[in-house]
């Protein structure tokens, strides 16, 4: 098994890496790149706690090989804040108490980021449809939906803002 060289964009920065064919993206991020935001729950693509965005599509990093990143762009939760300023979704999660243990949170925020990039003015049903990709065992989802709706309302007034000051 010869390691493969891959070129990709990680949180906005160009990266060249060497990966073996059987290395999973979740392990690559967590163990090789020290990005622990993507959490591992089911290892089966079901719970969504390991969600990252690859080319702006939510992906379960536990079910995705690192080599598949070649030529693509990956965003993890660590890449969301700008110069120590939280992304507006992160801020909304804090304001709406949209997490308790926090295990699902990075995945939920990234799924919602992808949703807003694909559909800037989604209905509540659309929010529910997107977050149904991921499981939260603490909140009952109501606060997560509230956080999403707050961002949708805010952006409707002010336009998209990537970060709050």
């Amino acid at each position: 098994m010869i390691p493969m060289e891959i070129d990709f964009i990680l949180n906005g920065r160009a990266v060249t890496g060497k990966v073996s064919g059987n290395l999973l993206l979740a392990d690559y991020l967590r163990e090789h790149l020290d990005l622990k935001g993507a959490k591992i729950g089911c290892s089966r693509g079901a719970c969504g706690s390991c969600t990252v965005l690859v080319n702006n599509i939510p992906i379960a990093a536990c079910s995705y090989f690192a080599f598949q990143l070649d030529g693509k762009s990956v965003l993890t939760i660590e890449g969301l804040e700008r110069d120590t300023t939280l992304h507006d979704l992160q801020q909304a999660f804090i304001e709406h108490a949209a997490f308790q243990c926090g295990y699902c949170t990075s995945g939920m925020i990234l799924v919602l980021k992808a949703m807003l990039d694909h559909e800037p003015n989604p209905s509540r049903d659309t929010v529910v449809e997107w977050i149904s990709s991921n499981i939260c065992r603490c909140t009952g989802y109501a606060q997560i939906i509230a956080a999403a709706e707050a961002i949708i309302a805010m952006r409707a007034n002010t336009g998209p803002t990537e970060a709050v000051s």
């Binding site: 064919g21 999973l24 089966r44 969504g48 080599f67 990709s133």
Partner: protein
């Protein structure tokens, strides 16, 4: 920042995956040659089902990634067939502009499969080729009388979607496309409110031909073909489902209820 070595505090993903080679095939021909050479190959499309294979110890020695094969991503009409490439994702396929006009009901049915994260990566080909009785792609396609087109080393191989569950395929075979006949103006209704215990796809066309595909979780779905011209008020006969988990009497009851609903929704009763 607090420095904590998290090893052991959080679950890690399965690192037991043995070493394997990777081929990122650029063409169907290249993929077939690799399939021929390999001992235990796995084709990688969207990769949303493969981990389930790994989790039960079914490890490949080579992964053949087919994502770069352009022809597998197309949706088009070829004479009297709707052709869907095997690597078309649930999301891009089910939102394709061609669908609503050529097969009313197919878009609504396809959109119900899985969740947004899975739909954006998972492919129709991967769904079918997982060959799990509860997966919905083959249920819909069996109702629609679709043909599956495989590339094999000895040329193309065609198979009815409804035959795939228990068919033997050549080792080196790659599903290329799904071909759905549309000349007779098919319409589809799909009920999955009890999934995975029971789902049912119902097809009728302008000639009066109909197909009902009744699927339980663990056994091969049952296909019932009928002709409204000879049976003006068709009603499905009882089936001995033999599902190991759900009782046959219950399944037949549900089947009849779904059938009535579907007849109504399709304007047939």
């Amino acid at each position: 920042m607090l420095a904590i070595d998290s090893a052991g505090l959080v679950a890690t993903s399965f690192r037991t995956l043995p070493p394997l080679d990777v081929v990122r095939a650029e063409s169907v021909g290249e993929a077939l040659q690799e399939l021929r050479r390999a001992k235990r190959p796995a084709i990688l499309a969207g990769g949303t089902d493969l981990p389930a294979r790994f989790n039960v110890g079914d490890y490949p020695d080579i992964i053949i990634d087919i994502a770069k094969i352009k022809q597998l991503h197309a949706v088009f009409i070829d004479k009297s067939e709707l052709v869907i490439g095997a690597a078309v994702t649930h999301q891009s396929g089910s939102t394709h502009a061609l669908l609503p006009a050529v097969i009313p009901g197919f878009q609504e049915a396809w959109k119900k499969i899985a969740n947004m994260r899975i739909r954006m990566s998972g492919t129709l080909g991967g769904n079918i080729m997982s060959r799990r009785t509860r997966y919905e792609g083959a249920i819909l396609l069996a109702a629609l009388n679709a043909q599956l087109e495989f590339a094999t080393l000895s040329g193309p191989l065609f198979m009815a979607a409804g035959d795939l569950w228990d068919a033997e395929l050549p080792v080196a075979s790659l599903l290329q496309s799904i071909r759905i006949p549309i000349a007779t103006k098919p319409r589809l209704d799909y009920e999955r409110s009890l999934r995975p215990i029971f789902t049912q796809a119902f097809y009728v066309d302008d000639t009066g031909a109909g197909r009902l595909v009744s699927a339980t979780e663990f056994v091969r779905p049952h296909i019932w073909a009928f002709d409204r011209n000879s049976q003006s008020n068709p009603s499905p006969e009882e089936i001995d489902f033999q599902d190991p988990v759900t009782g046959t009497a219950y399944l037949n009851q549900v089947r009849a209820v779904f059938f009535m609903r579907q007849m109504t929704r399709l304007g047939l009763s």
